[in-house]
Subunit: 516 residues, 2 copies
Amino acid sequence: VAAVHYALWREKDNPVKIVSSNPAEGTQRVLDIEETSTESVIELAERARDAAQWYAAQSLHWRSDLLGAMAVELERDGDHLVELALFETALPRPRLEGELRRTAFQLRFFASVVAEGSFLQASIDHATDSPMGPLPDLRRWRVPLGPVAVFGSSNFPFAFSVPGGDTASAFAAGCPVVVKAHPAHPATSEGCYDALQRAVRGAGAPEGLLAIVYGFEAGKALVDAPAIAAVGFTGSVAAGRALWQRANARPVPIPFFGELGSANPLVVTRSGAVRSSEIGIGVAESMTLGVGQFCTKPGLIFVPNGDEGNALVAAIVETLEKLSDMTMLSVGIATHFRQGVNVLDGLATTRLYGDSNGYAEAHVGASLFEVSAGTFAKAATTLRDECFGPVALVIRYDDVDDLRGALEVSDAALTFSLFVGDSDRDEKWILELAARKAGRVIVNGYPTGVGVSWSMQHGGPWPSTTNAAATSVGAAAIDRWLRPVTYQGVPEGLLPAALRDANSLGISRRVDGVVR
Amino acid sequence: VAAVHYALWREKDNPVKIVSSNPAEGTQRVLDIEETSTESVIELAERARDAAQWYAAQSLHWRSDLLGAMAVELERDGDHLVELALFETALPRPRLEGELRRTAFQLRFFASVVAEGSFLQASIDHATDSPMGPLPDLRRWRVPLGPVAVFGSSNFPFAFSVPGGDTASAFAAGCPVVVKAHPAHPATSEGCYDALQRAVRGAGAPEGLLAIVYGFEAGKALVDAPAIAAVGFTGSVAAGRALWQRANARPVPIPFFGELGSANPLVVTRSGAVRSSEIGIGVAESMTLGVGQFCTKPGLIFVPNGDEGNALVAAIVETLEKLSDMTMLSVGIATHFRQGVNVLDGLATTRLYGDSNGYAEAHVGASLFEVSAGTFAKAATTLRDECFGPVALVIRYDDVDDLRGALEVSDAALTFSLFVGDSDRDEKWILELAARKAGRVIVNGYPTGVGVSWSMQHGGPWPSTTNAAATSVGAAAIDRWLRPVTYQGVPEGLLPAALRDANSLGISRRVDGVVR
């Protein structure tokens, strides 16, 4: 997704104040928040490290309750938070209300993941004789990494921001969190922080368990802060790659989990194209959902040549024509979008819909372009890049070889969607390619919904993320903030409860190689 | 562990030939192997990528059988391979025979991990209504990353080299392997490669499933090769960090799992020091095992001041005095070791045992140094670095604060050993610190044995590895070579067998959130 910088308010020698902007109206208000100094960032990270040891010593039950309390406090401030987000994001009220509900649901989901306990991956090998001689008693589980820095996204002011999946999964893993507030919604960030901090205080935890910092420089200082143990990031390829390199360049490098850009392919096969009108409407709705500001937006639409394909493309255009003008999350993002559309205009063969003229500030309209599969396969890679916003590129193909050639040159993505008909046996090769190229493969569905569940994968090979083994949504998001420790020959009384013979936590464990 | 470069044999314009060196005798023989050109490296990696798709389509049963066949072929050539390694490593025959057995055992262990199937982390969420509305059918498992580059270590010519844990776990995960032969044992590497390749051919697999490359430049080219999907490395901090940065600098960065240096702490508490003589002998044996060329060698020995501590240190020295002179793996490693000992000599307060004079080429003697905890805590960090070889630094402390101060400044390590007496309640803080600082925590035992089992963790925070969440020994070593993929709404007939409702593979799975 696109990068955006703070609107700043600097007055003589006073510290820089953070500004909250309304992209729909173009109005601004100066918040009573200053940019966080590097010294403060380092101190907040150290406070988080102190809290980490305290937090790791609490029970799973306590940790689960904390997450539940966070959900309650977030909902308690719901109306106020939605108002703040309405002002700052121009997203419609029902969407923001739904996103807040989802975010509270996600906190409760991680509360249940903590209570269930299998994320600890507890494994006990009693001392035994092996073909290699005696093996000592070995017991392995996973411990929290320490303070996690969270860089939220612009496009989900709740679900992928201060109280979002990175924060919820880090707390679930037993890690304190220091959030870098997103410049596109600082007031919403502060409001969410206040709600979560109330839960922290109410639980009697040290305040250092949760902190928030503001400002571009503060973000860099946060990645550098010695007490920070890992980073979760959702944003653009450029910003993500720069911060990832920064994390790698530290004297003690730390893991960086970045969800970056993704031009998600959506393939309609010949047999799928029979439902041309239904799929065309669905594609148009999915690519413009949230003003096209979803990292899972289908951006590359592969459609067969011929009548049915033509009808499908016509249905997309017809649906787009019914849309009103739209407001993006910020002027910066809209400007970036218009630049991207202009690039597509220069590289694609046909503009099927849309016109960049007449839009200014944060206001934009949808666009649709077309190119042949052959041209796509040979074109500059910029044609295949993500363009964040309500735009898609239709790629028309003749046959399987034509389609395969175009798909093989596509970058990896978060998702890969496939619309097929009943004769689905011939599509196995596409599913194999899709699993190589994406973290989630969808048949006869749209990629823009990302359910919070045990089996969700929201991640994919580079450049869609910095780490294809990780997910930022679903139960496995907790895996990012843990590392294994094995205890060898440690007396029962000195072992953590999860690794004692008596399974007092009642969690799923592997004992002598067998899952119980 | 220390870096070492190829001995090369260049004759006029002919390609560079690889040389096999005998560190004990100082003799060499030119092998009929050339350095691998960059073009060949790229081609071998591409061949591996082609094989990857074929391999991923084979059943778990087939994959498990392949690993078993590799163990058989390795054992079939056992006598020959041990002879090659004797010449190249100067390690004693029983050690090499044991290591070969262990390596075959490890291949069979991973065969059983594959057959057991829970490494797939298969999870099925049937379509359901959630508080957030309908959730689609979601099914998640883990797929192989693709061709893995393996950089084996100098110190274990079998167990951490061509047929070692990285290779075994990568094949178990479903990934082809391209090994970079270690310059300290190229003939052994070639011999092991031949044995494994026989198993590949015997199974009817494409030859590209396994490849080997030789030469310093070939190693760099291998990390750069576009078809390589991940790297496993065991070696020095310097070489590991350089190759890790190289992997990160690729246009498409790839995960790099490096096991680097580790100065493993071993703490004897006051109550533990009662068994001074027994522990002293054990420490001396552990620190000189395999000529001190274990990445788990206890290098920092924390001993209380006072009579019992003195007796313990005396027991270490007495045991060292009984040792003969030793031969290290190569002249380069021995030279590096002597340099490290000289640095310690300049920084430590007392030399308790040993004398660098009189040794040359690959021949060395053991050394032991002493320093107070206070000096250790304030000293240059080089005093706390790993010195690969038969040397350790004894750190003498007065009380708990003194000990804690010295331990807090120590780097993270692969292992942390603790010798305690019966009054073990007071040692909880050390175990907590140990779990923060190391991947394996050992009570009343020595760190040098690393058992192959479900619960083993061989890894630790930076600088002991590049990725604290990974292990290079034990069942979880397979995790490094996998990434998750979720299938959404995919018809049963198009799903992989592991994710169909009928659990035909009979593997442990999570279904609708419950482990079954």
